[in-house]
Amino acid sequence: MVETMSGIPLDPSYGDGLQPGEYPYTRGLYPTGYRGKLWTMRMFAGFGTATDTNARFHALLRAGGTGLSTAFDMPTLMGRDSDHEWSVGEVGRAGVAVDTLADMEDLFAGIELDKVTTSMTINGPAAILMAMYVAVAEKNGVGRVHLGGTIQNDILKEYQAQKEYIFPPRPSVRLVTDLIRFTTAEMPRWHPVSISGYHIREAGSTAAQELAFTLANGFAYVEAAVAAGLNVDDFAPRLSFFFNAHSDFFEEIGKFRTARRIWATWMKDRYGATNPKSQLCRFHTQTAGVSLTAQQPENNIARVAVQTLSAVLGGTQSLHTDSYDEALALPTERAARIALRTQQIVAHETGAASVVDPLGGSHFVEWMTDEMERQANEIFDHIDQLGSGSMLEGVYAGIDDGYFVGEIADAAYRFEREVNAGRRIIVGVNEFTENDDDEANLLSIGHATEEMQIKRLEQVRGDRDADAVRASLAALIEVATQPDVNLMPSIIDAVRTYATEGEIVSALESVFGTYVETAVV
């Protein structure tokens, strides 16, 4: 029995007509919402060397956690080694540094990988990190079939927003579909792509653009995987999404509700998915980092709380809340704890989790939900037209023409001009700016990690069998020139020789080339 603070008993949901758990899932994926299972409070973290992060993993597991979330540092995300000239100052800073299989062995040392699920936030070199994870598990006697988790592996939004790309789009999408084919065949517990709008929004898009670009990317991956010979119902249930929770409360809720509706109808009608699980838009949410202000940083706690509430009322499956000091530096432990507490307050004190889709039926929320869909449909039409009836080709064309970056840059500039002209108020920035001299305590990380990591890399390079490395990279290059052959086995072979991430990326670059973006300012 769920009741209010004052003792009024509550049904799982209210209203006639469409119910939560019913196609097209506008009102939620499941009839009981958070009563069945609260959203997962997944706090994404990590820094330093693999050994540092491993210690945190063990602490987390001792505390009863079962999910490991791995953030990688910038060089790792960009597919370069820690001793690359651009890695200076970045090694182990925003995440863990992984150069070779040896680092991955350290990262997961002493952890039974068939007993945990692991989330890895990486895109350009996702196939390489996936290969390392498989290699570590198998070295420890755990078959790949037993591995569970998620890898972000969403390369399309990199060209549109986050800009952490390596190769041009087509070979990159081949890597994505190779990974989907690989996990579909051999790793049934793995989620091979997390289709992400978060970064699109952070780059300055509107809510409708975030929604539409993200779902369009999802459609593109579906088309690419089908073109690679997969049956839609074989892989679509393993796809998931990642959205931004920004500050305009009702707009965000409308966005989340529409996302479920659009995905379900397109998967059923356009892509012929018959398994209901293929139609479910499951999503993770993170509060809007870009909404945090450096001025009067404590105000950010209030912003994050409201954004949290919109994600929960919008029915997110999991949530990361930002720390109030993130506009200035990496979060301190104290700020990260307040962020987690914010979720716990919304979950346990507010009653927001008691009833599924409590705003369904509100005239305004229903209108906003429809309006988001209308705007998204206009964008889908444009992309579809760019691709002459293929969403995949449309997304390629939109990347090539600078359509996505242009639209995002326009929206970002419009927003900045409104703030600048005072037509849009940001508290503590362009209004209510007095008494803003509070100083936040900031976290800073020294250079010791970098030196240790580079030493470690040099040691691994010295100890390995150089001929085996050369042979495995030559074999990888050979396979890369054959578009129909899955790259995953060759990448796994290469990481097992302790070839570095940078060496594997360079080998692939020799075939695929390096992407340079179309400048749209």
Binding site: S388, E393, A397, G513, T514
Partner: protein
Amino acid sequence: MSPNSLDEQFEAARAGNRRVLGRLLTMVERQDDNAVVVSERAHRDAGQARVIGVTGAPGSGKSTITGHLAAVSGADQPAILAIDPSSPLTGGAILGDRIRMDNNVSSNTFIRSMATRGHAGGLAVAVPDAVRVLDAAGYDPIIVETVGVGQVEVTIAAAADTTVVVVTPGWGDAVQANKAGLLEVADIFVVNKADRPDARGARRDLELMLDLGHRDDWRAPIVLTTATEGEGIDDLWAEVERHTSYLHDSGELARRRCRRRRSEVADRIELGLRDRAHRLIEAHSGEFALDRVERHELSPAAAAQQLLASLIPDNHPED
């Protein structure tokens, strides 16, 4: 400035000092009094370089193609002039072509971005001067890239030994190209983004349009490229070389360059006259004439005729 220092500057530019060359280009770009002197000095040594114009609609991939062309030319010192429009409202501009070229070209390529800077017709003299300076500094080929949207931009790209027009698949673009007068000026057509479904259609449309045209000595070839992948660029360069041979063998090169100088001189006269006309009506005699126009004692036509006569005494009205 003294001629000595200018000679030194050109010597330094020829010896590879890019900072000095950058400044010489700024002087001609500004078209101030220095520009005439720089231009004159440059003209003495100019005339060696091949000048290639590349134009096309925004987003057609012409910057990427331009970068590739500089690279495949195999030249020791290629140069690129990338021209983008200034904002008519603020006079500012965002010049973003470099990054589309930088990755393809080698470090010996000199790239200069120029904005149209609004002053009417100014570009028509600033660009030939910039080409002249690069030429005199030993750069060859010199590739001038413009957005083929306005008459001025098209004219500038057309003021080359070889003009390459870039279109993308889709009937719409071909029609646009036709409207902007791009078809008339093209020595070579590129259908870029040839990996898109309707690339063959675009080629067919262009062939049809060329069939209707009447340039009998050189029929513009059509090259398919996928610039982002670097595909078709070798073919394009081969056509540029073929056109260069054609220009030499037929004597067309000398004729073209002669026409180009002629129109540049005409442009400069026009610009000078316009400038003087503006000064004239702001001067005393202009004020006086305008007052009379205001009082309806003189028609605008008659006032203009009077003032023109004071500007060019031997003006014949029937001309």
